[in-house]
Point group: C2
Chain length 348, copies 2
DNA sequence: TTGTAGGCGTTATCAA
DNA sequence: TTGATAACGCCTACAA
């Protein structure tokens, strides 16, 4: 690769010092207008591009924020990432995205990589954090070092971490209660990737509050949150007859299950009611529009970036005393797949 | 933020020189085993994390690869990114992802940011590159500086750039020919975001080769490639009766169109045939499984990373003489939406 | 096997 | 308003 143009090259060409160039390029007020213009002109002519690595080294800031998520396949996670990227960009930051593939070892490794790259802060969708002693300790250590890290999940009540998240417990609770209120007594739940503890507890609590018993046989965990796996999960859970309703931890899972039902001649919602999670666009446009629990991306990312920036700028002050937990309440969007009838011709 | 641990801190603690620490940490052979172990022990105890910014500055390599794509909403682009990220990771590289939002100005700005951050190479899904003089020049300049950049699109035949891409011309050609072979004479095409020149020319060529005339009124370009916009496009293009087939530049567009047809009482494929692009999972699981053109992500990313790494390692040699163009041939996957009948019970 | 010295490209500090 | 000088943390020579 050809040698990059440096400030020194500009300086030499003009017979001034590097310092002058540096000041001129950052449009400093305390420099002669003429020299400033000359420097900027030469910089442009030589196609000078500042080396932000060098700048970062001395300033101890990279203006890069790390983002760790389990799977890029999950539209919600990706949308969250994109949304945050936009907000960061507006503040002069870039984002470094890392996927953990639901691999707990890689998750902590990703943290190390980001720290090594000196990112100014980290967002993270943790994988099954309740059961990850190692991740927990690492996250705690990072925060203890006054290093901004924000979790986008709420399943870490004992962990002193700053968090912004949808209340998944409540989402599952609302969905399950809706189903029981419509008379369902055998309600299955399916998970992709790993069982979500919060959702699971919401589900169990709703059953209990409805006077129903929790039946572990009505829980299925499949490989990931795709259509394919939802299709598989439905075939497992519905084969033995009694189940009349399914709560799926993601909309794709729900839509895959819906497809299986149709192929088996089961009517949705008459024979099987289905509710998903996340309110993806695909759910609105499905053959049987899907009842689902919202994921408020815009609200979540707004709160999350606010929190991150306050941590970044309020170094060492009261912001750091007590981790903040920002909880966002999901709502149930009732469409056709759980029994509600659509009026003809209307696009839900 | 608390002060980070440096090699110097380890050195001081052990009463050795920084150089010893540096060598020990990189597991150099020419150092005493004992001191090496002691250094590594202390490093671990102090929770030392190497500062890759400093390392990059001296080594002139960051082990970061930039990736520019127009929209994170597009599942194919994201899958490509993820796929490439995995392959990079296996080689010790990380990825910096930037979205251009189909904004041509931001595209060149993203290039500058990546260059400034000293990434070791760049992948890019260009936006409408044929009509972007500015982007073209920039890309050419980057390559002329022996800086590895690979375009993931083929619509730049005059541009001396290394490229790995699906042959979209051929894809559109195949799809259109398939429709004409089934007797369709009024075939519309819809685009999301921007008109894709390659696809457009394939479409026109196929019409011509089938003895049909190109009718600009049967072309619609909508805001993006979502279900919503496909729904809108269908309402525009089908309102005036004559069209009997739609080719959509993306599967979500196609599925949105499908939804509109169903709501209007139009049968697919009997009244309207629909073909999409990209072969997303959603297409396989749709109410009417979608006929579509494949996007061979795995093959594409494999070839693309191979090419990038060869450019990175073969600095200054023959690799650089002539830009390489790797073209991947798409295939037509025939499902129900264009007239082919599914056998009952079979999951396509 | 280890230590010393110099430099990567930039910014910050202080003097001129 | 400018210039010299010293960092930033690490690596690569080369010397000891």
């Amino acid at each position: 690769m050809n040698r990059r143009v440096r400030q020194q090259d500009i300086a030499r060409k003009l017979g001034v010092s590097i310092n002058t160039v540096s000041l001129a390029l950052k449009d400093s007020g305390r420099i002669n207008e003429d020299t400033k213009l000359k420097v900027q002109e030469v910089a442009k002519a030589l196609n000078y591009i500042p080396n932000s690595i060098a700048r970062s080294l001395v300033q101890k800031r990279t203006f890069v924020i790390g983002f760790i998520l389990p799977s890029i396949t999950n539209p919600i996670q990706i949308e969250t990432a994109q949304n945050i990227e936009r907000k960061l960009l507006a503040n002069g930051y870039n984002m470094m995205l890392m996927t953990s593939d639901y691999d707990k070892n890689y998750e902590t490794k990703a943290l190390d990589i980001l720290l090594s790259r000196q990112v100014d802060g980290i967002f993270m969708f943790p994988t099954d954090i309740q059961n990850q002693k190692k991740s927990q300790e690492k996250i705690k250590a990072i925060r203890d070092a006054n290093y901004p890290i924000i979790l986008l999940s709420g399943g870490n009540f004992n962990l002193p971490s700053d968090s912004v998240y949808m209340n998944q417990y409540l989402g599952a609770y609302k969905a399950t209660r809706h189903l029981t209120s419509m008379g369902h007594k055998e309600i299955a739940i399916i998970y992709g990737g790993a069982r979500n503890t919060e959702k699971h507890q919401g589900y169990i609590a709703a059953l209990k509050d409805s006077g129903l018993e929790y039946n572990p046989n009505q829980v299925a965990t499949v490989g990931n949150s795709s259509y394919e796996q939802g299709y598989r999960a439905a075939s497992k859970i519905l084969r033995n007859g009694s189940v009349t309703a399914i709560l799926a931890s993601g909309d794709y899972l729900a839509l895959g299950a819906l497809r299986w039902c149709r192929e088996q001649g089961l009517r949705v919602p008459e024979d099987v009611a289905i509710i998903g999670f996340d309110d993806l666009e695909a759910s609105r446009f499905a053959e049987i529009p899907l009842t689902t629990i919202t994921y408020k991306v815009e609200e979540l990312t707004t709160r999350a970036t606010e929190l991150l920036f306050s941590l970044i700028s309020d170094q060492e002050t009261s912001t750091w005393l007590k981790p903040r937990k920002v909880e966002i309440e999901p709502t149930l969007v009732v469409r056709q797949s759980c029994g509600f009838k659509k009026r003809s011709g209307e696009l839900l």
